[in-house]
């Protein structure tokens, strides 16, 4: 252990302490990144509800037949490298401890529904009175200001109302949307970005601030060119034959699609970025005569014959495996990627293996478990992914003892009074 409470001295953010009330993925996924990069993230959970506000604590997937709040696989994934304490913020003694933690923290983070912390007596103004340098980042679907503050969301609602779900699908079909809470991941990334940008400002100006994140706003910001095509050119995405997101109009690329290959539910994505790719692709699929065909001379002309070209490419991919199709296209310099299954990505992906993308952590109850790794490498401060998610109150002695200086007797009394 390095210094008090296992503060990682070699991470980029080792000097940062986060008083963390986040949960699920949209919040926990933010402080996860910062913990991996060295921040001391103190995850605070309610001892009365046994931390079950975060539904992932007891949820699947599970490593074996055992079930319970210390065995949630997704919870472990999203909370690696964090410390875990319990604190009952309903009680005056709990509030007093929270005030002491805020006084020595750089950041307070949460993703409750709008207004929850203010109802506890911890509005931004109240926290700033304790510590003017503290950064308070709240994150919910509709944020802390606006007409829908009281409304309930989860990832799919954020994606729906932000315009992402509708911008995913095939023509003449209902929206395909995202098959997971993309905006829980991405909302978490934006929340981490918000924390870091506010810290940068605080380091220069000495003051913290409240950052009011609405995940729905972040979602809507991701559809820029389509939105501008409407505001500038008046072209709506909601029109006949649209959206058609396996094809591509920005920029126009033809062919550009996901094609069936040999085997059951096997697919390969292929895209020709320009005429060089097109000519190479024609040779690969045995359609040399297309290279001189005036109908196919530019991407815009090919767009008018997209069905014919798709049929030609599909005929070629149907005769090979998705992997063979991908490798053959890549050998000719043409962008291609098979639709990898989870097993392909975890077991057989050479880039993931060389990168070390699926590290194992040690969890006190679950044992050794593989988790999502870090897709960036910082040359001097790479960070750590080795410790699994904390058990409920696992670091109470360290945080309340070493950090706040409480005696063993005081900590025992707090436990007895169900403050922690």
């Amino acid at each position: 252990m390095n210094g008090p409470v296992d503060k990682r001295v070699d991470g980029a953010l080792s000097h940062i302490r986060i008083c963390d009330f986040t949960g699920q993925l949209a919040g926990a996924g933010a402080t996860r990144q910062l913990a991996i990069l060295g921040a001391q993230v103190i995850r605070i959970e309610d001892p009365i509800a046994e931390g079950k506000w975060d539904i992932l604590r007891g949820g699947g997937p599970n490593v074996d037949e055992r079930r319970g709040p210390e065995l949630g696989g997704a919870f472990n994934n999203h909370n690696v490298e964090k410390l875990g304490i319990t604190l009952n913020t309903r009680l005056d003694k709990g509030k007093a401890l929270l005030r002491r933690l805020i006084a020595i923290s750089d950041v307070v983070s949460e993703n409750f529904s709008g207004g929850v912390m203010a109802r506890w007596g911890f509005s931004y103004e109240a926290m700033a009175a304790i510590n003017p340098r503290v950064i308070y980042v709240s994150n919910s679907g509709f944020g802390g200001m606006g007409p829908y503050v009281k409304y309930k969301t989860w990832g799919p609602i954020v994606q729906a109302m932000g315009g992402l779900t509708a911008n995913s699908g095939l023509p003449n079909q209902p929206p395909a949307g995202w098959g997971y809470s993309y905006m829980d991941h991405t909302g978490g990334y934006f929340m981490a970005m918000a924390i870091l940008a506010a810290l940068y400002y605080r380091n220069r100006h000495g003051v913290g601030q409240w950052v009011d994140m609405a995940c729905t706003d972040a979602a809507a910001a991701l559809n820029g060119p389509v939105m501008l095509d409407y505001t500038v050119n008046g072209r709506k995405l909601n029109r006949s034959g649209s959206p058609d997101t396996n094809h591509n109009d920005s920029p126009v690329m033809v062919p550009h699609n996901i094609y069936a290959s040999q085997g059951e539910d096997n697919w390969v994505a292929i895209a020709a970025r320009d005429n060089r790719d097109w000519l190479a692709l024609c040779d690969v699929i045995g359609r040399a005569e297309w290279k001189a065909d005036a109908r196919f001379a530019t991407p815009q002309l090919r767009k008018q014959h997209e069905a014919e070209i798709d049929a030609g490419v599909a005929q070629w991919t149907a005769q090979r495996t998705h992997r063979e199709a991908m490798l053959t296209m890549q050998a000719a310099g043409v962008p291609a990627g098979m639709v990898q299954r989870p097993a392909d990505r975890v077991e057989n992906d050479e880039n993931a293996r060389a990168w070390g993308l699926w590290p194992e952590v040690t969890h006190p109850a679950m044992g050794r478990v593989k988790v999502d790794g870090m897709p960036i490498k910082l040359s001097e401060t790479p960070g750590h992914i080795s410790r699994g998610a904390p058990l409920l109150g696992q670091h109470n002695e360290q945080v309340y003892g070493e950090l706040l200086g409480l005696s063993k007797d005081e900590i025992a009394a707090l436990k007895q009074e169900r403050v922690i």
């Binding site: 395909a176 400002y201 559809n223």
Partner: protein, 425 residues
């Protein structure tokens, strides 16, 4: 809770100096930094960065200064041209890198190094430099030289496996909007800011290798962790989470043709009574009123026939309700009974929704070259003290050459004119 007292008009990253070079893969990272106040100089070849040629164009007229793709991804930046194929161009790039605190490089691996402008060369006299490469597969290792687009990244990196339809004769779907690039840029941003905070402490910069393929891989939620933890494989389903086992549909088509996402199930007594009241009011409740509580979705899927019968009756009644109600009206009614339901908006619908209007999401950006202003998507993050803003529209090709080369780098007028004459810039 209002904005804190003493709100300043300064954006959070005001004063930070960033150089961006390469292609479309890194542009979103540069925009995020620039819209938060950083001074971002985008270095383009003399003919312009490739995405200046991307559709759609203003009034559908192709022109390097009229690509809406380029407009969106390059707001708040300054733009300069520079020929990196010539020694004078490389010398000038070294000066730009010496001016910068951060360099974002989305060229293919080795491109800058091969022309003497790699991280080691640039940091030798500038150890505080933070440099971030953003490439499809990282700087090293297998596949590093593969050609990729947003589509092929999202297929190979995992997202597409989870997206699509119940009918698996239809292909997996790549959601639109360049999210593969954007996800890589989110991680690049986190790496850059963490490295800057570390630099402030340690006085040293560093190199950040962003692997876009890895970024997709760790952003697929259950797709990855169900396999990592339990070796289970999720299967795609129409408009809802891909899961290991089947789940009932979670979309309703409403009277106005729009869809509603209905993933949050009717569970609590309050929700059940509220839903019955809505169905009854529309005259479609049928005998559901005879059920004392909501159906248990998990039990129904697990084989409980009575639960499944109630669930199916409820689904049919909700379809009938939706057929009589607009999506927005049904959203409001369902939120009032605490249901996590929401309208599946098209991007163009977002801009007039009361939430986005109240939070100032649509922003006006002036295009003085056209004598017009246009509505752009605004703040993804609401900083209450240091507002996010679009400082200016995307640069015209070479628009900021004079300011950057003369004012930022301190070249004199003769040197600057000579660069123009020799077509270095």
């Amino acid at each position: 809770m209002g904005a804190p007292q003493g709100t300043s008009l300064e954006a959070p990253l005001e004063g930070l100096r960033v150089l961006e070079t390469g292609g479309e893969l890194g542009a979103w990272c540069g925009k995020l930094l620039a819209d938060m106040g950083a001074t971002v100089v985008k270095v383009e070849p003399r003919e312009g960065e490739r995405s200046r040629g991307y559709e759609p164009f203003y009034e559908d007229q192709p022109h390097p200064d009229r690509s809406l793709f380029f407009w969106h991804y390059n707001t708040s930046k300054r733009g300069v041209t520079l020929d990196l194929q010539r020694p004078e161009g490389r010398a000038l790039f070294r000066k730009l890198a010496a001016w910068a605190e951060v360099v974002i490089d989305s060229h293919p691996p080795g491109y800058l190094k091969d022309i003497g402008l790699g991280y080691e060369a640039l940091c030798a006299s500038h150890p505080e430099l933070v440099m971030c490469g953003i490439t499809p597969f990282g700087q090293e290792g297998p596949y590093r030289d593969w050609a990729m687009t947003d589509l092929t990244m999202m297929a190979f990196g995992g997202p597409a496996w989870s997206c699509g339809y119940d009918d698996h004769s239809l292909p997996p779907v790549r959601p639109g909007g360049n999210n593969g690039y954007e996800t890589a840029c989110h991680f690049a941003f986190i790496g850059i800011m963490a490295a800057l905070l570390h630099r402030d402490q340690a006085g040293m910069g560093q190199y950040i290798d962003t692997n876009a393929h890895a970024c997709q891989n760790v952003s697929t939620e259950a797709g990855s962790h169900h396999y990592l933890v339990a070796k289970q494989t999720v299967q795609r389903m129409t408009g809802r989470h891909a899961m290991v086992s089947y789940s009932p549909p979670q979309m309703l088509k409403c009277a106005d043709g729009r869809y509603l996402s209905t993933g949050g199930p009717v569970r609590s007594p309050e929700q059940w009574q509220g839903m019955l009241a809505l169905l009854d009011e529309a005259g479609v409740a049928g005998d559901l009123k005879n059920y004392a509580s909501a159906p248990n979705r998990n039990a129904a899927v697990a084989g409980d026939k009575a639960q499944m019968e109630q669930l199916q009756k409820l689904a049919a009644a909700q379809e009938a309700l939706a057929a009589k109600t607009s999506a927005y009206e049904l959203f409001l009614k369902c939120q009032k009974i605490n249901l996590q339901w929401g309208v599946i908006y098209y991007p163009e619908d977002v801009l007039t929704d009361p939430h986005f209007v109240a939070r100032g999401f649509p922003v006006q950006v002036e295009h003085p070259e056209l004598g017009k202003s246009f509505t752009y998507p605004g703040a993804p993050i609401r900083f209450t003290r240091t507002p996010w803003r679009i400082g200016r529209r995307a640069p015209l090709l070479g628009e900021d050459n004079a300011e950057v080369y003369r004012d930022f780098l301190g070249l004199d007028e003769g040197e600057y004119q000579s660069l123009i004459e020799r077509k270095v810039v």
